[in-house]
Amino acid sequence: MSLGVISEEECFGFMEDFVQRSKKSSEPWDLMEHGGKLYIYLKSWKVLSNQKDHSKVSDNSSDRISEPVETETDHTICSDEFSNACILFEYYVIYSESYSVPVLYFNVYNSNGGLVSLSDVWDLVPAHYKERLEENRWTFITQSEHPYLGRPYYQLHPCHTATLMKDVTSMTSSNACSNYLLSWLSAVGPVVLLSLPLTLASDT
């Protein structure tokens, strides 16, 4: 793990652990399987508190590192007031054999079920990340083919994951509860509004 990469077997182990931890949270992830390969999946509704300011987004958990503005507890029905600003995120974490790291695939749908375009996805990225990522706009989030579904999904490009995780794993290696997926997702997830509940990181 010292190079920031992990084996497929390790990754599947972290996935199982991650899903187990998330069971106690308000947004439990699902462990899935495709042709003998494990992957994890989460469907998450978010409510935009103000359409003009997309960076302020709430979700259905109150215990977040980012600051939710509103709290929406109903997963499926949105009030009329928010109907235009209620969006659905689908997240997949799939192991990439080419890069030896996990990859985050996601799609965003508006309340009519239409796919949110890449430029609108960029509008959803919190401002402080956007500034830093602007230079790599064309390579950081891209549309690509979902390896198991064969349909278009947005992807956080895996080519920088190992570099990022090299530092993270060396810092946390002594920590018994460290889970590579947890460290990585809590670092990159907030860019695409995936904020993990703090309870996931606790041991009990």
Binding site: E97, S98, L115, T139, S144, P147, R151, P152, C159
Partner: protein
């Protein structure tokens, strides 16, 4: 690999005649003539259809004009596959030119990726190239290149310039002595299914050179049991005993992947009758 330059050149020069027809349902008045064009197998549709799009857009309702997309017999064309791969999968040698329908409405965004500018194609191409080098050299070669080298490869592909593209690409194809490619970058396509990509080394553990047959038996064993499949790379029925490393060096597309298409003989014959 220099002695096989002729082969690299022939692969690069492969072209397909395509007939582009505007969708009947989207024409508002006068019907435009279909457009015929020879397109390189190794490139991507958005890089060769800009003029076609501009021309045909004159014949449609401007208010309903959305992003252009192509269709082949009801199947939306995935522009992010090289044209040669799409033709080997969806076309039929019995009916050239390859007939494609051009649409400007109802973009099927649940099936194909958006492509609003060349930047999107460039980013897709570079990321596939990077993945190929991750498989071959753990990204060491591509990350050791300068940005201008990446640009030279991209513009070489855009402008169909073999002599601009290959001097740089040669570095990605190099391996020294016993240090072969770590894995062979390949993707296997069958109609309607997501492509198959796995880790496969150029040599067996005993040091034997792997052949195309070894790769297919590993990646798609169930398909190799039946005899009514045809295997195409660049439209060529490649002998199964071909050494895989040699194929990777010479038959890869510009993105450095060996794109292998498997079609059933029965479906090919029935499409020929049409």
């Amino acid at each position: 690999m220099s002695e096989d330059r002729g082969i690299l050149r022939s692969i690069w020069d492969g072209k397909i005649p395509v007939c582009f027809t505007l969708s009947q349902d989207e024409i508002i008045a006068e019907k435009p003539e279909p457009i015929y064009q020879m397109v390189p197998r190794i490139t991507y549709f958005p890089l060769v259809t800009e003029k076609i799009s501009k021309h045909l857009a004159q014949y449609i309702d401007k208010e309903k004009q959305g992003e252009m997309w192509l269709e082949c017999d009801g199947v939306p064309i995935k522009w992010h596959y090289p044209i040669g791969v799409l033709y080997d999968l969806l076309g039929s040698s019995g009916s050239l030119p390859w007939k494609l329908t051009v649409h400007f409405q109802d973009f099927p965004d649940d099936e194909i990726m958006h492509c609003l500018s060349r930047d999107v194609v460039e980013s897709h191409f570079m990321s596939t190239l990077k993945e190929a080098d991750a498989l071959k050299h753990r990204c060491n070669v591509i990350n050791g290149m300068q940005k201008k080298d990446h640009k030279q490869m991209w513009t070489g592909l855009c402008h169909d310039k073999f002599d601009q593209f290959w001097p740089i690409n040669k570095r990605l194809m190099e391996h020294t002595g016993d240090d072969l490619f770590k894995y062979i970058p390949f993707r296997i396509y069958q109609n309607d299914l997501p492509f198959i990509q796995k880790l496969f080394k150029p040599q067996s553990e005993e040091g034997h050179e792997h052949t195309l047959d070894d790769l297919l038996k590993f990646a798609v064993p169930e398909l190799m049991e039946s005899t009514d499949n045809t295997i195409f790379i660049h439209g060529i029925e490649v002998p199964l005993h071909s050494p895989l490393l040699w194929l990777s060096e010479h038959f890869s597309y510009p993105d450095n992947f060996l794109h292998i298409c498997i079609t059933q003989i029965s479906t090919q014959e029935s499409s020929k009758e049409w």
